[in-house]
Point group: C2
Chain length 144, copies 2
DNA sequence: GGCTGTTATTTGTAAATGCAAATAATTGGC
DNA sequence: GCCAATTATTTGCATTTACAAATAACAGCC
């Protein structure tokens, strides 16, 4: 293996960590966290998801998610309901307060997208996204 | 903001998390961790780095790194030395055992690079790396 | 040479994380 | 309809993590 900064997982993690750290710092004054935002964003896209599905799309471990949702629930941002037709499953729903918080975070998220992609042409940005989706799919190969 | 999976920080994190989880699982039987590997890889590239620089290149928080290095040191993988010319600073050095472990991990790391980039042409792979470096540089803009 | 402010690392502490085990409920045979 | 195997979520527990404060040593200025 050559220099570290030609190693893809390294580049990926390094960029991801930098965005995550900066974004987390922005969340703090709002009393939110990056992970909570992920959950809210996922629910904004489709409300009433199950814990398992939510874990999958947010890339948060289910047991971690359980406790994160505990907190968010006690803060009144989301509510758990029993899934209709399957009493094992739980569906998660954003509350009005949750949706309000989502609206406050959205412009910040949009700014991050812009800053991250500053200097990229539309074509380059799209190519990067396509590549990241592909890479994600590739990694499914050696999953547990 | 549109669908989640057109949001760049999301794509980045999701891909990164998947690689990290899978790679961590591979490290376990070796008695290593992903973070320890990052340190070893950074030392392989240049031994005798300082803690601060190491934190920077590995994207591990310095206080986290201190304790990670404590562990690695007690496992005999690395050794701290006082930096010559500056008694505040510490330089970190891989031991023979550390280098042996590095050699065992290298082929795994190389496999991950291959799997992640499966189906990418050399040109596409390089474009992705360039984009990730650029993105990383862009994010320096709104750092603490 | 002795302050003053800065830099490098560590430590205190509370919260987040992840694996494994536990719990609860479904499904598919039979 | 009952049992075994599977699926969805939660809990137990030990580790990792990050922010902030503490410590230690340097650098420049007078």
């Amino acid at each position: 293996m050559g220099p570290l900064d030609s190693y893809l997982p390294y580049l990926l993690n390094r960029a991801g960590a930098r965005i995550a750290t900066a974004f987390s710092a922005e969340m703090r004054p709002l009393g939110a966290t990056l992970q909570a935002w992920r959950v809210l964003a996922a629910l904004r896209e489709r409300d009433g998801r199950r814990m398992g599905g939510l874990a999958e799309t947010t890339a948060i471990e289910v047991s971690t998610l359980t406790r994160l949702v505990d907190n968010m629930e006690s803060e009144g941002l989301v509510a758990r309901r029993r899934a209709p037709g399957d009493a094992r499953a739980v569906t998660l729903h954003a509350t009005a307060a949750g949706r309000r918080l989502t609206q406050r975070i959205l412009p910040i998220a949009e700014r991050y997208e812009r800053v991250a992609l500053a200097g990229f042409s539309a074509k380059e940005a799209e190519a990067l996204k396509v590549a990241l989706r592909r890479l994600y799919a590739n990694m499914a190969a050696l999953r547990p």
